[in-house]
Amino acid sequence: MTPIDTTVPEKPRPKLDGPEKPFWDGLREGEIRVQRCENCGRHRFPASRYCPHCHSPEFQWEAVAGEGEVESFCVFHKAYFPGFVPEMPYTVLQVKLDSGVRFFSNPAEGEAKDALAVGTRVRAVFEPVDNDLTLLKFRSAEARS
């Protein structure tokens, strides 16, 4: 019998096989897939059964472009999970993509700590953590890839 793992995760992992499975599958394949309402046409994320704008249950998952803007950010000087300790202080971003969907995220690896401010144009970076998980991060749109 496999013993139950009760150790603290280095970093919390998202649920990859829940309602947002198409999103996580998309990131692994280098695409940002979100729900698009078939009634009013608006994109949305996180996943929901009904459109928060028009309440229609009809939707498709589709890829949106990775360009957007930093709406806010904060810098953690305290780590609540051990995996964040080496990165301290680390930045959390709120990014709004041009399609209207918003994500909490972090600056991509190697991004200068002060490169992103409120209003900075950014583009998506797909950062693999392991075979199962790729995270959506952001880099200043002016920076070279």
């Binding site: 709406e71 950010f73 953690f76 000087h77 609540y80 959390v92 909490f104």
Partner: protein, 388 residues
């Protein structure tokens, strides 16, 4: 149904860090003091409105049993800032509707024993699927309540201007109130220099922009106005109430319109839905002698002043400068010293202070003629308390 309710007794345990008493023992001390304060007997209490319960404390049945109460009405939230008003309002509704004669609002907190539950692996709320109750997004390290407040303040400063130095006016003035309150955990003056040199928790929030984590209990006794007239103390009347607002316009630590989480970006300003409580109480902002709010983080005080129309869009940082909210200020806020400097008894220490102020027994902190006071939070819920 008209609200027919008054606060007739308040009692507290000691407040502090790592208190040896259990939650039940703290609650028992607070109850005893509340009964003495009101002149009521234990047998008179037949309702419980609980601002505690799993996962942060004992449930109603354990409290009723442990305190020797015989109860016929219960409302239970759990220990969360969002449910302070709701707990108080249910007590007022229950006595108004005749579901109970005397409702005890009970909160008993042992945060210092359980601090791991507020951010990190032990935080069942923050770590849950779909994100936490403070807008947490653990995958990206947005793992504590302070993160949401920091995101809000950063964007607010970008839109309206402002600095950490200006924000410091909030905790500095609330500390000045606390220094006049012997129950305060914080005993030293907070200077701008101390604020600025304190460590960052989540930039732009310094240590002193974040509330205390303490232990303590408070019991607040609520009955009808008629019954209140026959009791020991001057009644503190529920003059108006409005409930918590919930929609995509709301993000836990942001004013509507700021655009945090899923909030649409509009103007951050007081709307008619934010100020119904004044109409219900038959007063305006000009009549209010002091404001009391859930000051978990100093930006929340700014958001509250704007939400309830004490100042306009983006004006709160200027409003609080030069003793806007301190002792003898233009609009005193949290004269007990708040969660920032008295203790974190989840805002019930503020309700206790409002009661003392309206009775005229707040000692060196007394606001002259404190006949109308507002409790109002960043979530849009509010109660206006008045002298009878």
């Amino acid at each position: 149904m008209k609200i027919n309710a008054a606060i007739v007794g308040v009692g507290a345990s000691e407040f502090g860090r790592f208190l040896p008493d259990t939650q039940l023992r703290l609650a028992a001390k607070a109850l005893k003091q509340a009964l003495d304060d009101s002149g009521l007997e234990r047998e008179d209490i037949d309702g419980l409105s609980m601002h505690m319960g799993w996962p942060l404390g004992l449930d109603y049945d354990q409290v009723a049993d442990g305190l020797g109460l015989n109860i016929r009405y219960v409302n239970q939230a759990w220990t969360h800032g969002r449910f302070v008003t709701n707990t108080l309002q249910h007590a007022a509704l229950a006595v108004s509707a005749g579901l109970a004669n005397v409702v005890a609002c009970v909160t008993a907190i042992s945060f210092t024993r359980e601090r791991d539950i507020l951010g990190g692996p032990g935080d069942m709320e923050g770590y849950r699927e779909g994100g936490g109750t403070h807008g947490e997004s653990p995958t990206y390290g947005l793992t504590s309540p302070s993160g949401g407040a920091a995101l809000s303040m950063q964007r607010y400063m970008k839109l309206y201007g402002g600095t950490s130095e200006k924000l410091a006016a909030v905790p500095i003035q609330i500390r000045q109130h606390a220094l006049l309150n012997p129950d305060s955990v914080m005993k030293e003056e907070l200077t701008l220099e101390k604020h600025q040199s304190s460590r960052m928790v989540v930039d732009p929030l310094h240590l002193f922009d974040c509330c205390l984590m303490t232990d303590g209990a408070i019991v607040t006794l609520v009955t009808t106005k008629e019954r209140a007239r026959d009791l020991k103390q001057k009644p503190v009347v529920f003059a108006g109430m409005q409930g918590i607002r919930s929609s995509r316009d709301e993000f836990i630590f942001a004013p509507p319109g700021l655009g945090i989480g899923q909030q649409p970006v509009t103007h951050v300003r007081s709307r008619p839905i934010d100020t119904e409580v004044f109409d219900k109480a038959g007063v305006t902002q000009k009549d209010v002698k002091g404001v009391y709010t859930y000051d978990a983080f100093s930006p929340l005080v700014l958001f509250v002043l704007e939400r309830y129309g004490y100042c306009g869009e983006g004006e709160a940082l200027d409003f609080v400068q030069n003793n806007g909210i301190g002792p003898g200020g233009r609009l005193p806020v949290n004269t007990n010293g708040g969660l920032l400097s008295e203790a974190h008894v989840a805002g019930w220490n503020h309700i206790r202070e409002m009661t003392r102020q309206i009775r005229g027994t707040a000692g060196p902190r007394q606001i002259p003629n404190a006949d109308v006071l507002q409790w109002g939070t960043v979530w849009g819920d509010s109660v206006i308390l008045t002298a009878a």
